[in-house]
Amino acid sequence: MLSLSQIPGRLCDGFSRREFLRVGGAAMLGISLPQVLSLQAKANTAVDPSKPLNGWGKANSVILLFLQGGPSHLDIWDPKPDAPSNIRGEFNPIPTNVDGIQLSETMPRLAQQMDKACLIRSVSYTPAGLFNHTAAMYQMVTGETPDKVAPSGQLDPPSPADHPNAAAHIANFRPPDEPMLAAVQLPRPMQESNIIGKGGNAGFLGRAYDPYFLFQDPNQDINLDDLTLRPEVPPVRLKRRKSLLETINAGMPEIDKVADSYALNEYYEKAYNLILSQRARNAFDLSQESDEMRDKYGRHTFGQSALLARRLVEAGTRFVQVNWPSVANGDPNTTAWDTHATNFGPLKNLHCPKLDSAVSSLLEDLHQRGMLDETLVLAIGEFGRSPRMGISTSGNSNAPDGRDHWPYCYTGLIAGAGVKGGQVYGKSDATGSTPLENPVHPRDILATVYHTLGIDPHTIVLNHLEQPRELVKGEPIAGIF
């Protein structure tokens, strides 16, 4: 049992798979689970000085800019100027403020913040489901392949049996220190055609761990009525109402059981705290930012969402997921990343300027506020796009200058929380088709997220069938710290 004291310091409840196995072994030695847990509680306080921390527990919060639709890695993060013309595309590489790192000309402002971020150019996996979007998105945010994929490649709608997304596990293991929303998702759900919000919720962990969904456009006025205390209902009156409601409900126990199955009472409890504290209300109030700051992030849905993410993190939210505001629909005039039909014009004129202003401003702003050291920032899609133009990899048809889905090798940006800036991790081949060095599975990215928050990625939780499940079957990417 001495091995327990060597577990690196933990910030949370739960126990890892390895510990779980040890518990099984310990039982044979006549040591009960409560005893193990109490030993473990003692172990919690001891950090093993011989182990480098590697970002362990460095993050207080995580901002995931989830670029749903699948942005073209070659045209943004991983330019290949020496590749044949049907691969390299129309854009030229530009230098960045870090020697030896180039970005595509579509990202001029990010180029000036490159010293703060790490590009993982070897993200690689093979999703289930003929790489349709939903299966890939589910993989990205939950770390699991979906249980069931229809022959069309499509998934079922969200279900309570789904694997929880990272936000839910984080809300569970590292609830906020303040009366604040643990996790927020904005400004719209993840979506592919009929399937809306798959992977976007707490799944088997229970609805109470769902992120708060702010599906409004922060570039317009956000409606904050629900969070703003009304003049005729001051806190003392709200508290009186609450206790009256609880008395009335207690008189109807059968119906209160229904409320339990919907986690209604937990929601009400959280809602009272949020309304009474007014903390969330202020965080959502973008009018408290200067015009200059708002302009910098960009006066568009994605830019203002990124700014809102920073405000939420400042107020104590652990996990903010900003979903790219447009989804695949085949119309080259919307800013959807799913550029089958036409790639270069929309990227240059519509999509990339928005991505560039939001990501670069977020990195600069967090840095200037001294928040980057404790905030992990991720910008990544569910896949990249095919290096060769005009070919079909997903069964979709593609225009001659269109690019299809490509999960085998693409790029994600990661920054903050101890991640060394100004570096490229992993390497893609001459055409950006396959990783040459250090391939990174999306599971490893999630494991890194948990790791920086001080949550062991191998922590076991029980699913709806009481089966033990790891948070994610991946390993933190040690080389980026």
Partner: protein, 228 residues
């Protein structure tokens, strides 16, 4: 009843069989024989013992979700809930560009605007043709809206609403409590419920405030929010 004999109801194929084929056949036959009379089949279903079961479960049917062995509570849909709040408070919601006193369930489509309540509570945007677009989940945002949002709060203080009228007529406390229970839960209060409510009214700053609080609490109780 919250679930089709084939579920989802619009997904009819060999690999998605009905849970009770005999029942489906019997209902089909009855429907055809009635000359495709919708009122007839609704009456048949609503009068059935199965439809009228309680949400109470016992140890044998607790786990059942597909055989209609007990009722399953469902949150009211967006339009139902908005209309129910309108009836309970006596303050009808107002929509753009439709006649006054239009109910939410009568709205022709999702383009008709309200104060955002319908969207929040899952009225389909009609982006797809799938019934699955409608949601009846419960979330934190819903709780916040019902506790503190403008829909319920404005309806409670509506000068034309039920409470304003109750206070104006000077009804005694017992009558007030009775009317609010009938307006929200469609039943009379039990004696202990009278006692709790009357005590609250007695301790409130004013009769009006106390009545508003009581109606607020009833609207926020799962007994009101769920179809059961």
């Amino acid at each position: 009843m919250g679930r089709g004999i084939i579920e989802p109801v619009d997904d009819i194929r060999t690999s998605n069989p009905p849970t009770n084929p005999e029942l489906l056949d019997a209902l089909t036959k009855d429907f055809v024989e009635s000359g495709f009379n919708l009122k007839h089949i609704m009456r048949t279903i609503a009068h059935s013992r199965t439809y009228q079961q309680s949400i109470k479960t016992n140890k044998w049917n607790k786990a059942d979700k597909i055989n209609f062995s007990h009722a399953v509570a469902r949150r009211l849909t967006a339009e139902q809930l908005l209309d129910a709040i309108g009836v309970a408070t006596g303050s009808r919601p107002r929509f753009e560009a439709v006649p006054k006193n239009f109910r939410a369930v009568q709205l022709p489509d999702s383009k008709v605007k309200d104060d955002g309540f319908l969207k929040l509570f899952g009225r389909p945007e009609r982006e797809t043709s799938c019934e699955c677009e409608r949601t009846t989940e419960v979330s934190l945002a819903h709780a916040m809206n019902l506790i503190n949002g403008p829909t319920v709060a404005d309806a409670l203080i509506d000068p034309e609403g039920r409470i304003a009228k109750l206070v104006k007529t000077g009804s005694d406390d017992r009558t007030v409590v009775e009317e609010l229970y009938l307006a929200t839960l469609s039943r009379l209060p039990q004696e202990n419920e009278y006692a709790v409510a009357i005590e609250h009214l007695a301790n409130a700053e004013s009769k009006e405030e106390g009545t508003q609080d009581l109606l607020w609490a009833l609207i926020n109780s799962p007994a009101f929010l769920f179809n059961r």
